[in-house]
């Protein structure tokens, strides 16, 4: 769509320049007099251009998009591999979650103790640093390796991408959980996340659910 080489390393100034040109060409503002059908088509194109730019300007989103493209190509519908984080990380995250659960029950009784608070804050800082490292590695050396890899090497890099993305997802979730506990320990936390939803989901007929199929944002099919 942008006429740029299909690589993870993107010249962001050039991408922006081409995005502005495409945005101009396809923006509904310049097609007000067109018939309704034509306007709807232009709006859809404009949405696609915007989504594509959003994906391509962010190095992590680029990797995520690449993984989806490659998976879509190589796997049959339904048996997309679930991204897996390294077992050591899972074990570690599990331990932090346990400590968090304890902290929550502590907070439910009163306020968080000074030591608990300090430990949690420290953990959050170290996880944030690791998240940053992981993102740098993904956007930097890993992305560069993909760009220069021979076709035979690609599956291995793809697997590394998936692992890094999964690690990132776990880190982000745990950081968010930590932040929630740290920020809201003055409020009562116990059961807050579960109550109040019961009523909405009470009807036996229509429990609504998100699927494990994880669709994606307006995938640009260039």
């Amino acid at each position: 769509m942008f006429g740029l080489p299909r690589k993870l390393a993107v010249d962001s100034a050039e991408l922006q320049r081409r995005f502005y040109a495409l945005a101009r060409e396809h923006h509904p503002d310049f097609h007000q007099a067109a018939p309704a059908e034509e306007r709807a088509r232009i709006e859809a194109t404009s949405a696609l251009v915007n989504a594509a730019y959003r994906t391509l300007r962010d190095p992590i989103a680029r990797v995520e998009y690449l993984v989806r493209l490659e998976e879509g190509r190589e796997t049959k519908e339904g048996d997309i591999d679930k991204p897996k984080a390294p077992p050591a990380l899972l074990q570690e995250m599990f331990e932090i979650q346990e400590a968090l659960a304890e902290a929550r029950s502590e907070a439910a009784k009163g306020a968080l103790g000074e030591t608990t608070r300090a430990t949690l804050a420290e953990q959050r800082e170290s996880l944030r640093a690791r998240l940053k490292d992981e993102e740098t590695r993904l956007a930097g050396p890993l992305s560069a390796r993909w760009d220069s890899a021979a076709p035979a090497e690609r599956p291995a890099i793809l697997a590394a991408f998936k692992e890094a993305l999964a690690t990132r997802a776990y880190l982000r979730t745990v950081i968010a959980d930590l932040t929630e506990t740290l920020d809201s320990d003055t409020e009562t936390l116990s059961g807050e996340t579960d109550s109040g939803i019961e009523g909405r989901h009470g009807s036996a007929e229509a429990p609504r659910t998100r699927g494990g199929m994880g669709g994606h944002i307006g995938a640009p099919h260039q």
Partner: protein, 596 residues
């Protein structure tokens, strides 16, 4: 039909209309007959009819219960959203489900209906200026307005007879007005503190493209709040200094809407004076005593400091979302009357480390920008393009009451997103899609935009493939589609569409009521003046209207209303004739009217 598009700033306190002058290529505000550019966004519902603008503003203290101001703060909101501030409003807000309704001047009105009165006045102002009818407008809204508030604004336009061809965010509009000549390429922060709302937008201006990188704000923070804290402070001071008189006369000022309105207006005036002067004297005459006190700018700043502080958080969040720090901002633009407050300027300057722009009148700059956008849409400008964003994340409620975000905040619009969902129970035939807007993780903490149910064929849990598509148009308004892919069952909705129908039905009924009252009165006064056949015709038309009014068919109500009007036309003429005869002899009313 004219293809002219006007730009309208529908403000909390004041509204304006502007256009781009073909000769100079510059946007201009259209003043009223007396040369005033601002139209106070105040509507009074008096026994003699609806009054708007300056005359209505003068009614504020005299008829507080029937004079609506700051209605923008109620647009697209439910009673629960506004009940806290409703306590401070002298007009009555009706409790109930759905969007708020006001009880003023002996009738019920919705906020869009009140706004429509303001829009109509601006439309007529523009029509007088151009000497031709105007049907299309670009209308601005706070960037942080949600979907419901945007829809309500579009509805207001529709009620006023204006096709709102585009909703534009106020700070972005302001950047367009500045962008014509005054901005160089770079990153711009627009700080917009108006009468009732606060917005901040970070934009990149390059190659004629105005790309909004992030936006944030608070739709319930503005000059009105400054006035309120000041008025409450004055109230306490009056109570402390004049308790003897107050007790003697058994007066509770807080329960006296007229006194409170006087107090609010005095507070507003003092606030405005303190922007240019260091000190001012307030004089307020009450029954039995006169309150007088001197106030300094420091007094005011102490009172409003927390409110000004509340604008800084959104500024920092917008910067963070744009992936920038304050040092990356090249220029700062101030918009909205409340940015005249020196404390606001100081805080903005401290935060961004730049002297803000304020060459353009902060009251007019949004309207000027709306005119520029209108001119772009009309094809008059082709080298400028505005790429705006959606201010709030949009998603679907999924299992456990968690919001599954489809479109994150600050996504460039138009945009679309698609995601697959499935069912969790075997044989499920109804899938409840709950569309939400907001930044919180749980559905109950976000704003519900609507629910709709998709009927599907029974299948084992996890089997259905429900594709949900969100499309946000260039106005920032969402459309949702859902489709079960295995069976091709489909449904879609635009939020509040059904609601608009309901409101238009209510309007039709209100109109019918007015006509029925008039017809009833005419029949009572003038039944003896017309023949039996005519009386029967009127009675038949009235009965038909009553029947139509009881139903839900808006078109039928309209038709029946018109029929009654037609049937009573002659009677009304006869009645007027009879009334005029006394004073003017025997000439017919039509002759007299014809002489004008």
């Amino acid at each position: 039909m004219s293809s002219r598009i006007i730009g309208i700033d529908l403000g909390t306190t004041n509204s304006l209309v502007a256009y781009v002058d073909e000769a100079t290529g510059l946007p201009r505000v259209i003043p009223d007959a007396d040369g005033r550019p601002l139209l106070p966004s105040v509507v009074a519902f008096t026994p003699d009819g609806i009054v708007v603008g300056e005359p209505a503003r003068r009614q504020l203290a005299r008829r507080p219960a029937d004079t609506v101001y700051s209605v923008k703060r109620l647009m697209g909101r439910g009673f629960e959203d506004v009940k806290d501030e409703a306590r401070y409003l002298p007009f009555r807000i009706l409790a109930g489900e759905g969007l708020v309704r006001l009880a003023v001047g002996g009738r019920e009105v919705t906020p869009p209906e009140v706004s429509a009165v303001v829009l109509k006045a601006l439309k007529e102002r523009a029509e007088r200026h151009f000497g031709e009818s105007v049907e299309k407008a670009v209308v601005t809204v706070p960037a942080y307005f949600n979907d419901a508030q945007r829809q309500a604004t579009k509805d207001a336009g529709r009620i006023a007879g204006l096709d709102v061809v585009r909703i534009v965010n106020e700070p972005t509009a302001a950047s367009l007005a500045y962008g014509l000549h005054r901005l160089s390429e770079g990153v711009v922060a627009v700080y917009d503190l108006g009468g009732g709302t606060f917005d901040v937008s970070i934009l990149r201006v390059k190659d004629g493209v105005f790309e909004v990188l992030a936006t944030n704000g608070d739709t319930h923070l503005g000059g009105d709040d400054f006035d309120r804290v000041l008025a409450l402070w004055l109230l306490e001071d009056i109570a402390a200094r004049h308790h003897t008189e107050l007790d003697r006369d058994c007066v509770d000022l807080a329960r006296d809407p007229e006194a409170m309105q006087e107090l609010r207006l005095a507070a507003e005036a003092a606030k405005i004076r303190l922007s240019s002067e260091e000190r001012t004297t307030l004089t307020l005459p009450f029954a039995g005593f006169t309150y007088r006190r001197e106030m300094t700018r420091a007094d005011l700043e102490r009172l409003v400091e927390p409110l000004v502080g509340r604008t800084l958080g959104p500024c920092r969040r917008a910067l963070a979302d744009a992936g920038l720090s304050a040092a990356d901002i090249d220029e700062v633009v101030l918009v909205g009357g409340s940015t005249r407050v020196p404390l606001v300027r100081r805080r903005v300057q401290e935060l961004f480390g730049k002297t803000p722009h304020s060459q353009l009148n902060p009251d007019e700059v949004v309207a000027l920008g709306a005119a520029v956008q209108a001119h772009i849409l009309a094809g008059g400008i082709t080298n400028m393009l505005l790429l705006d964003v959606t201010p709030l994340s949009l998603g679907i409620e999924s299992l456990g009451g968690i919001v599954n975000v489809l479109i994150p905040r600050n996504t460039t619009i138009p945009t679309s997103a698609r995601e697959m969902f499935t069912t969790s129970a075997d044989g499920q035939t109804l899938v409840d899609l709950h569309v939400l807007q907001g930044e919180r993780e749980l559905a109950k903490d976000c704003r519900s935009l609507g629910r709709f149910e998709l009927r599907i064929d029974p299948m084992p849990a996890g089997m259905p493939k429900i594709e949900v598509t969100f499309l946000i148009d260039a106005n920032g308004i969402l459309q949702v589609q859902a489709k079960e892919q295995r069976t091709d069952k489909e449904d879609s909705f635009t939020y509040a569409e059904a609601d608009v129908e309901t409101r238009m039905l209510i309007e039709a009924r209100n109109e019918a009521d007015t006509v029925l009252v008039h017809a009833g009165r005419a029949l009572k006064q003038g039944a003896h003046l017309v023949d039996v056949a005519e009386r029967a015709a009127i009675e038949t038309a009235v009965a038909a209207l009553r029947a139509a009014r009881a139903g839900d068919d808006r078109d039928r109500i309209h038709e029946a209303t018109t029929a009654v009007n037609r049937a009573t036309e002659h009677l009304a003429e006869v009645l007027m004739d009879a009334a005029l005869k006394g004073a003017l002899g025997s000439r017919r009313a039509t002759e007299i009217l014809g002489e004008r």
